[in-house]
Symmetry: C2
Subunit: 424 residues, 2 copies
């Protein structure tokens, strides 16, 4: 164990030392490195897929569930898609070096901010091997070094990917220390990583609530957490019901396993009778299981073809990540806002309304990373928001909120140009 | 103890509930509350000074040092100055509600960010009672509720100040829960506060390194730390020596007890003989004690009237907070940059040079909140930087770096205006 810790600290030191050089790399060098990674992944996909097979076989033998196995899988089309995403990151503007908020003070000092990398990012994540490439390429473009700690179920896939990345970046003249991978399986290494405050400037956990809470409670450096999305859509008294059905259907069905998918639909009592039967019929086509409160049940039980179950108290505030939705009838906009305040996770919330004041009140009062009027919460995504790729979706309030792209992986320093000024 | 914890949790709940209303107060109401506080402090200064006397007497009896007693003291002129600062905060623009980065996506979604308060700020601080008023007024203006935990040596002064604040804000129609003060002396309350993750959105510790480290290691919510400034000024080979003497003198002497004061001066070997004797004579007039490396001693011992002591290894990277400075001769700009990288605390660093490339290289390579060319590090201050007042100076990289004013006490939410968009 002492050996593994010493090795981890060495990797940390190498990342820190590399980060100083990364901060000053030219945009061309960083883009060349990204294009090399993209090319390398395609060229060496056989080797990657072989290692991924070994991970998959072991995972199957250990009884991993089918959706989890699917998340672990790398095949030709997935590798091509990952390679293409890297090309997109290369095409983004370089966030580093931008000078902004420049002003001249009355004493003649010229003062402003310059965007700089954070330094060393730590990432602790589970199963999906594409995270290895996504985070590495975003960190590289933003001038940060990265220490990756992937799950042991994907260790061979991750090591193959990191092998490609390291060869590709060193060919482009990027310091090899820029991408570090923790390959020892010991759990204690994660505990040690959480204490590497002098090395890691920001820690990003990606995975289930267990991992995220553990990191948040024990990390000694800043952490950005997210990924848990309990998302509501409120159908207001004045909603255009055809828009409402289309949006609520999309928010639940288009991709139910992700954090920005709808979990609870709240419906104003005045439109519940008009809206719920149509929604239920649409959702039935997609086999969505409805967990209804009593008023919703009273409306739906009049329709013979529709099946539903009574909601239990755990259904409110639950992230289903499946074709299941909670349904509640509310008396007013304010009741909807209060429900969201109590049960939401601060991720993405929407109102469907034709009333201007209701729309504005919802935008004002709901405290979440993303608040929508008349659109699907499924849009909460770095790519959709025009940030390019994302390292995650922050549901905390400090530094970055919502989708985190390249700019969110930077900080700034104040730069001050003087001509001999002293303070009196 | 259970009682005190229950009471703290009640205060937390009250702050959280108040924060929801604070987020939507009009600028006028907030400014009226600030002006009421300012007036109240002047009107009730007798009561405040009386309570402060009791704190001072107890502190004297317990053997508090003279500089600490001075920090604890409130007298008429200090109260007037505090009252005036609140008026200044009232005159600042309201940061809340600003909409920015608005754009229209190809699918017609209009998307942007709106500045909103963080929610509930926790402050844990020592001795200086003016912090009670400073942080309360900045939080109020930025729409945040505040939970204050001052030191027990200032408890009577703080309670008198909080009494004035609470009366003043409730007169203006601000919810009384907005300003909470933890008046029980038990240390365990601080430990409990560090765990109130569901209540406190940001914790700001202000005090010595012991307090700051304790908070950073144990808090479960985001923390912004700062206040420790190990500040260097490097006098380059091409420095204008008269500017250099004036700046280095100012950085050390103008107010030696604060975090942006100079700790170490680094001098290029080519100008050390010209610069150090003049600096030493200037500093001698202000009784600055010089802790010199061997090369600096070799130069200074030729001058009979100058006294100095040899630097020990602990002098590098030490925040003196007194009329003491470390002095080192270096061979090059890069040696100075390396020294700063190793020993600096990421606060404020300066170069004195007439060489354009040296200035740019120093700005590029030094990783600190504030990097200066040809000016005194003493300018690192929210007021000096034109931010108005400050809640502190952050030396971490996330969220805010350097002086933290009103804007740094806010976050944003994404607001999205749709017309029925769904994701395909």
């Amino acid at each position: 164990m002492q050996d593994a810790i010493a090795k981890l600290q060495e990797k940390g030191n190498a990342a820190k030392s590399a980060s100083r050089r990364l901060a000053h790399l030219s945009t061309d060098t960083k883009n060349q490195a990204l294009l090399n990674i993209s090319e390398g992944l395609i060229k060496r996909q056989k080797e990657i897929i072989e290692q991924n097979h070994l991970d998959l076989e072991e995972a199957k033998a250990s009884g991993m569930s089918t959706p989890m196995l699917d998340r672990l899988l790398l095949n030709q089309s997935r590798i091509e898609s990952i390679a293409q995403d890297i090309g997109t990151v290369a095409s983004f503007p370089d966030p580093v070096g931008e000078t902004f908020d420049m002003k001249t003070l009355p004493n003649g000092l010229q003062i402003g901010k310059r965007r700089v990398p954070l330094g060393v990012i730590g990432a602790i994540y589970e199963s999906r091997p594409n995270v290895t490439v996504d985070i590495s390429s975003l960190c590289l473009k933003s001038g940060n070094a990265i220490i990756l700690r992937g799950g042991k179920e994907a260790i061979r896939s991750n090591m193959a990917l990191v092998g490609v990345i390291r060869d590709a970046i060193s060919e482009a003249g990027v310091p090899g220390g820029a991408v570090q991978f923790v390959d020892s399986p010991e759990r204690e290494l994660v505990n040690y990583m959480l204490k590497m405050r002098d090395t890691i400037d920001l820690l990003i956990p990606r995975g289930g609530p267990g991992l995220i809470n553990m990191v948040r409670e024990n990390a000694m450096m800043p952490v950005i957490t997210g990924g848990v999305g309990v998302c509501h859509t409120y159908v207001d008294r004045t909603a255009d019901l055809s828009k409402a059905v289309a949006i609520v259907y999309n928010a639940k069905v288009q991709r139910p396993t992700v954090c920005n998918a709808l979990d609870t639909v709240l419906v104003h009592r005045d439109v519940a009778e008009g809206f719920l039967p149509i929604l239920a019929q649409e959702w039935a086509r997609a086999s969505v299981e409805m967990h209804c409160d009593e008023r919703a049940m009273a409306i739906l039980k009049a329709i013979p073809s529709i099946s539903f179950v009574p909601a239990s108290s755990e259904d409110w505030g639950k992230e289903f990540l499946a074709l299941v939705a909670a349904v509640k009838v509310v008396d007013s906009l304010d009741e909807a806002i209060e429900h969201i305040e109590r049960y939401g996770s601060g991720h993405s919330e929407a109102i469907i309304t034709e009333d201007y004041s209701s729309a504005m009140r919802f935008l004002d009062m709901v405290d979440a990373a993303c608040v929508y009027v008349n659109a699907s919460t499924r849009f909460t995504d770095g790519g959709q928001f025009g940030l390019g790729a994302e390292v995650g979706i922050s549901t905390q309030k400090l530094h970055a909120r919502g989708p985190m792209g390249l700019k969110e992986l930077t900080t700034y320093k104040w730069i001050i140009f003087g001509s001999g000024q002293v303070r009196s």
